[in-house]
């Protein structure tokens, strides 16, 4: 199958600090990949490179046939195909939930207000917060905010969705409502890269699990193999701590 995301020997430094060390990583269309690993291992940095929220210094990243480099045209084209959901939701606090979802449709995709509101309401209904559309982010619970953030990303009709620990900032009772939305999305055939420590979610939807440590991908396996016979010592240790 065609790889929609392709990273070849990607290296990144923060000053002297080598965060990503010669990463080779690919995702094919409709595939769901879960990335896990200890704190500081470079998981966030890796997925932030995919939509160029971080620049890599060596190697190549190709997303949907477009190479990520200095070319700003490619960057904005790629960003309109890649949606991202953050640990801290990052909704725009001065705009209503509905406006959060329509802003980029109107100003990036040049849609009319009516069109974009209609699509926004469709996605808000999908994540079951259409009744909250006119509220401001600060008036919603964490779980509702994260679902709104997912809807905002979906409104751009991306081909790929990136999730960076979407449930880590949530109270336990809200984790499920967000994971349910993500499971639905996965079943709908979205290509997904998810940084998470929710191993239940990984077992349920992931095709593949990637384990990172200190800037390296140390283990990468089909989901069932990853949980049943991990080879790397660090993976084993990590799994024993988390499961």
């Amino acid at each position: 199958m065609e790889n929609i995301i392709q990273l070849r020997s990607v290296n990144k430094w923060f000053g002297e600090f080598h965060v990503l060390k010669d990463i080779n990583f690919s995702v094919s269309e409709k595939e769901k990949v879960v990335i896990c690993g200890p704190s500081g291992s470079g998981k966030s940095t890796l997925i932030r490179c995919i939509n160029r929220l971080e620049e890599h210094q060596k190697g190549s990243i190709i997303v949907d046939g477009m190479t990520l480099d200095e070319n700003t045209k490619n960057i904005s084209a790629i960003r309109s195909e890649v949606g991202m959901v953050f640990q801290q939701f990052n909704l725009f606090p001065h705009l209503s939930i509905l406006e959060n979802c329509t802003l980029a449709q109107i100003w990036v995709k040049k849609k009319t207000k009516n069109e974009s509101e209609k699509l926004a309401m469709d996605y808000l209904r999908k994540v079951q917060i259409d009744d909250q559309a006119l509220k401001f982010p600060g008036q919603l619970s964490g779980g509702q905010q994260q679902r709104a953030a997912i809807a905002r990303a979906l409104c751009m009709e991306p081909k790929i969705m990136l999730f960076d620990e979407p449930t880590s900032a949530l109270d336990p009772e809200m984790i499920k409502e967000v994971l349910d939305v993500m499971v639905d999305l996965a079943k709908g055939g979205m290509t997904m890269c998810v940084v998470t420590h929710e191993m239940g979610f990984a077992k349920e939807v992931a095709d593949r699990v990637v384990f990172m440590d200190e800037g390296n991908i140390v283990e990468e396996k089909k989901t069932s193999d990853f949980f049943e016979n991990p080879e790397n010592e660090r993976t084993k240790l990590f799994l024993s701590q988390i499961l």
């Binding site: 932030r48 939509n51 929220l53 904005s76 960003r79 309109s80 890649v82 949606g83 991202m84 953050f86 801290q88 990052n90 909704l91 725009f92 606090p93 001065h94 802003l103 980029a104 100003w107 990036v108 995709k109 401001f136 600060g138 953030a149 905002r152 990303a153 751009m156």
Partner: protein, 347 residues
């Protein structure tokens, strides 16, 4: 009984409190009644000349006789309707503003910020449409105060925002230009800037070219205040979290769109008190234009008090000017508070 108790706990709870309460009361007693006597009770309101002021209080006749000059400077009296007309439009617009719906509000705001100032300038200076020309040397008084401060405020705000963004830019040329610009203007006193704009600048221009003195002064004040505005806005930009930048990039918004729709609305809201402060300071800096011979309201008082028939009227003049300045500054301060409150409600 309760109010007695209240007074006791609030004002006399310890010997130091009691001492402060008593001494401040005494100070108020010493200053306020004589001032009220002077301003109102012993003051003279009716009359035509200084000789009518015989009651020993303030001689408000002075302000009355000079009132037109204090408001309009030396603007020809048969043309004063132009100023009144423009300010009437401005005041009416401000009054009806809050009764309009969102869309009309936007149009009215745009009208007030772009076409209206241009229209007013043309109207004030004349020379077209059969209006007789009025040289800016004849502009003065409160009218001049308002022209200078309104134009400087309209221009310094966007320039300040651009400089603040420039200072945070990744492009070295823009970044160091902004830093240099801001630090230069913050480092020089306004009075020297005005002097340069008024006196030195024309010497640098090739002879024959001429830029109106008032325009030069407004440009100088604008650039000076823009540097302060930039630092205020930068404070706001720094307070907007990195997550907001990430999120707006991730949904495909470029640099300008992110700033216009996401970053600046949040940043500016955080620094409304600082912005109001800068505007008030700008307004109060306008009397300094006397160094280039422009006479706004304080300048007109200084002129009037040297009139042989009105010698010795400095106190009345200064009290009056202080009062006028206070009204405007207080209004600005209340207005900024009301915006702050309104924005808090929506969040």
């Amino acid at each position: 009984m309760r109010s007695l108790n209240f007074i006791k706990t609030r004002f006399f709870s310890s010997p130091i409190d009691a001492f402060l309460t008593l001494s401040i009361s005494y100070l108020i007693y010493l200053t306020i009644p004589p001032f009220i006597n002077w301003v109102l009770i012993d003051a003279t309101f009716y009359g035509e000349t200084k000789k009518d002021c015989i009651d020993g209080g303030a001689c408000w006749v002075f302000i009355k006789i000079w009132f037109t000059k204090l408001l309009y400077g030396l603007y020809p009296s048969e043309e004063i309707w132009r100023i009144n007309f423009a300010f009437a439009i401005l005041i009416i617009s401000i009054v009806i503003y809050k009764y309009l719906n969102q869309k009309l509000k936007k149009y009215l705001f745009l009208f007030l910020v772009i076409p209206f100032p241009i229209f007013s300038l043309v109207l004030f200076s004349g020379g077209v449409f059969g209006l007789s020309p009025v040289d800016t040397r004849e502009w003065g008084g409160l009218f001049l105060t308002l022209v200078i401060s309104i134009f400087a405020i309209i221009f310094c705000f966007p320039i300040g925002i651009l400089l603040a963004m420039g200072r945070r830019s990744n492009l070295p040329v823009i970044k160091y230009f902004s830093i240099g610009f801001i630090e230069f203007w913050r480092g020089v006193p306004l009075i020297t800037v005005l002097f340069m704009a008024g006196v030195m600048f024309p010497l640098l221009l090739p002879s024959g070219t001429n830029l109106d003195k008032l325009v030069r002064v407004i440009i100088a004040i604008t650039l000076f205040e823009a540097a302060y505005m930039a630092e205020v806005v930068r404070g706001g930009l720094q307070a907007v979290g990195r997550g907001q930048y990430d999120a707006s990039k991730a949904i495909g918004m470029g640099y300008w769109k992110s700033h216009i729709f996401i970053i600046l609305p949040q940043a500016l809201k955080l620094v409304i008190p600082g912005i109001a402060n800068t505007f008030i300071a700008l307004f109060k800096d306008t009397p300094l234009v006397f160094v280039v011979g422009l006479l706004e309201i304080l300048g007109m008082v200084n002129l009037a008090k040297t009139n042989p028939y009105w010698l010795g009227m400095a106190t009345e003049g200064y009290v009056f000017v202080a009062f006028v300045y206070w009204i405007f500054c207080f209004a600005m301060s209340r207005y900024s508070l009301s915006i702050e409150k309104k924005l808090k409600i929506t969040n």
